[in-house]
Symmetry: C2
Subunit: 450 residues, 2 copies
């Protein structure tokens, strides 16, 4: 009898509740502040942007929140997602470590993003909203929201960072196939966009600018709200279905992780896998090391400041207490577009400050080397974002090879690279560098904190 | 309790044998002939191109052939593949029909092609071959073989039709990420290629020409063999794991198909799903209509001649009795690159002549309309090839809506469109036409039959 490669849950065993880590933390995270008054924002401040159900989730202190049946119904198109044992990679590395990866690339758009796009579209539709706006970088989040809006009959309007809009037409075509409208950002359609273009007509944009445009449009247009793909509490909440499934799958496998590794951009993929395991750790039922991996070009946890800052460039959002490189910071154009955000989820920043997780930064050359190694062993070409986690996994597995430790490593493989293949082409052509953030640039950027 | 969306088999229930339909047919298919002698070819004639194990499978009259453990081990990376009930599509169509699709896009390269690439690479490696050559059009087959060669440590050399090589760089990048070398075809590397380029230096190539180049290189170079991604008996044999799994999944669903629909290019996807169901039909255990769907631009079954013809343009292969449009025929550049082949699997041609299956041709406009409809309901953007089958499915489902028939429809969704998104872009921009084959072009092309 062959050893198993995949651990698959039956649809009937799919978790029916999201997990909210907040009530289990030793202290609550600092609240978002109104930028004018510096007082905590209330539900009314958020109402122009989000439906009531999501605002309630954002500030919830309930440990579990039921997933609506309509959302479960869409999740079933690809969930439960598989947990793989990377036997072929282990063999290629010659490691005694046991490596598992939870694979979210089976979703309609090839990443974990639909886990939150679907409930966000659902709650908005349920409250009579007819259109959602959002920003996107490389396009993973934009395509997830486009899919979710198609599912619940909402219009979807996406501001895509100009650099990606021009260079990565496939993601735009995916959004359009799902029926969305896609604008390059900065655009002439918003005040925020026009201000940027007035200062620099050739601006290639940033996530921060695109957020400003989408937020401005949502606040102004009728029956329109805004959707964010990471950073906020309710987004990470929706992603916890990943970790809840993985816990059940580890039971099937009869194993327990010693090290849990995920890449962090805004934090939703990492939090989605890690929070349910953090609950188990806080309850003393297991004791994994939990490690966030970020790009050397955009090292918010390891080198950013823990301070109140805006979520966007124009300063339209509330102030969030988070690890930040400054809301004006525009990371170098590394290929992991999903990790190029100046801030970090306030919840993950808080948990990091509490010492419950650790973090490392890795340059993209090592990441792509790990991606190619993984692809040739396991068949899946990982998106540039999770190659960061894989690089850290492989480091750990090679340490185990030296020490003989049979550690159990779990990583979040949050997406495939089908629409990021030019990045692999650049790597194979030797045309990649780490773009590690310099002290000078960081220092200058942090002077802009509010 | 929600109704199920997916029917997933446990790894332990994965079929361990391929099914050979030949012994169950009322008469055997006509043999391939040597083009010089017009006598049936023997194993020795094929030995320069294929390893003994595959030659034995090509001519086998055994009903079942065991899948080697090493192959099952790689299959487990993505198999068993899911069978979906398309509940959301049914609802969108308002049909009483029950629509199921067997989804092969979960494979490492996003199509059914690795089902045969993996055993082909395995048997070659086992017989000491160190390099495989092949042709590819849009690149689905080339990437499957590149992945399989990476898995068994073989070099992989691919001739890709020039038009696709230039226009679809993502597939080439996928092949290179798996370690393959990719040449545009026609190339200066082979006599066949040089002859074509001498006549037309701007030739954008064809599958027939690329096959000639790959075959020539395999026959000439040391420890090198050739691998074909469709058409031949052993290729269709390997694909029968699709239909064997689907049969088990229909048992789980407690349902039986009335109509089975698959797209046909060389025939491997269609045969892979259909043959196990044809066995059940011939044995009187079920009675589905089995329908092949081909593009109006390349209608081999519905309008081609059933005759002996070459498999390639230069005339290097044995003569195959098949439905053909003539080995010189170059189909118009429709987006379903995998269906642009001048011939049809001899086995499927024979079964069609026996009246055991029917066939229809559909223009690509209707196909893309079906693809978009499917994507917005089910979340998966289908590759251009299976949109042909989906268009036929939707026709059938809409007939059921008129008649009230609760027919059970099963289709093969052989791949996703992540690397074919520009085709959807062209469709959404209104820049698509059917390219239906004209009588004049067909008549002229058939005059070249050997």
């Amino acid at each position: 009898m062959a050893e198993r490669t995949k651990y698959i849950l039956d649809e009937a065993d799919m978790p029916t509740r999201w997990y909210n880590v907040v009530p289990d933390l030793p202290e609550p995270p600092p609240p978002p502040l109104h930028p004018g008054t510096r007082e905590p924002v209330g539900p009314d401040d958020l109402a122009p942007l989000f439906p009531q159900a999501l605002i309630a989730q954002e500030v919830s202190t309930e440990r579990y929140i039921d997933i609506p049946e309509e959302v479960l119904d869409v999740y079933r198109l690809w969930r439960p997602s598989p947990l793989f044992r990377a036997r072929r990679l282990e063999k290629a590395l010659g490691t005694p470590a046991r490596i598992y990866y939870k694979y979210e690339g089976v979703s309609p758009v090839g990443s974990h993003k639909p886990n939150t796009a679907v409930p966000q579209a659902f709650y908005n539709a349920a409250e009579g909203v007819t259109r959602l706006t959002t920003e996107t970088g490389a396009g993973q989040w934009g395509s997830a929201l486009a899919f979710a809006c198609a599912t619940f009959g909402l219009e979807c309007e996406v501001w895509q960072v100009r650099a990606s809009f021009d260079q990565k037409p496939y993601r735009k075509l995916m959004m359009e196939t799902f029926g969305a409208t896609v604008h390059p950002s900065p655009s002439e359609l918003t005040e925020s966009g026009r201000a940027i273009l007035a200062a620099d007509p050739d601006s290639t944009g940033s996530l921060g600018i695109a957020i400003s445009e989408a937020v401005e449009q949502a606040a102004r247009a009728e029956n329109t709200r805004y959707a964010l793909g990471s950073v906020l509490n309710h987004v990470l909440l929706h992603q916890t279905i990943i970790g809840e499934e993985a816990l059940k799958q580890f039971e099937l496998a009869g194993d327990t992780p010693d090290v849990l590794v995920g890449c962090t951009g805004g934090g939703s993929n990492f939090g989605g896998l890690a929070f349910p395991f953090l609950r188990e750790k806080l309850a003393g039922r297991m004791d994994p090391v939990i490690r966030a991996v970020e790009p050397a070009a955009c090292p918010t946890l390891t080198r950013g400041k823990y301070a109140y800052d805006f979520g966007d460039t124009a300063g339209l959002t509330p102030l969030l207490k988070m690890h930040t490189l400054g809301h004006d910071f525009i990371p170098d154009p590394i290929h992991a577009g999903g990790l190029r955000y100046h801030g970090m989820s306030p919840l993950i920043s808080h948990i990091y400050e509490l010492g419950l997780i650790d973090a490392v930064a890795i340059g993209q050359e090592d990441c792509f080397a790990a991606g190619v190694r993984f692809a040739r062993a396991e068949g899946i070409i990982p998106a540039p974002e999770p190659t960061h986690a894989l690089a850290a996994c492989i480091q750990e597995a090679l340490r185990c090879k030296e020490t003989g430790d049979e550690k159990v490593i779990l990583t979040a493989l949050c997406g495939h690279a089908h629409l990021d293949l030019p990045a692999y082409g650049a790597y194979l052509a030797g045309d990649i560098s780490d773009h590690a953030l310099s002290d000078e640039v960081l220092e200058k950027s942090l002077t802009g904190l509010p």
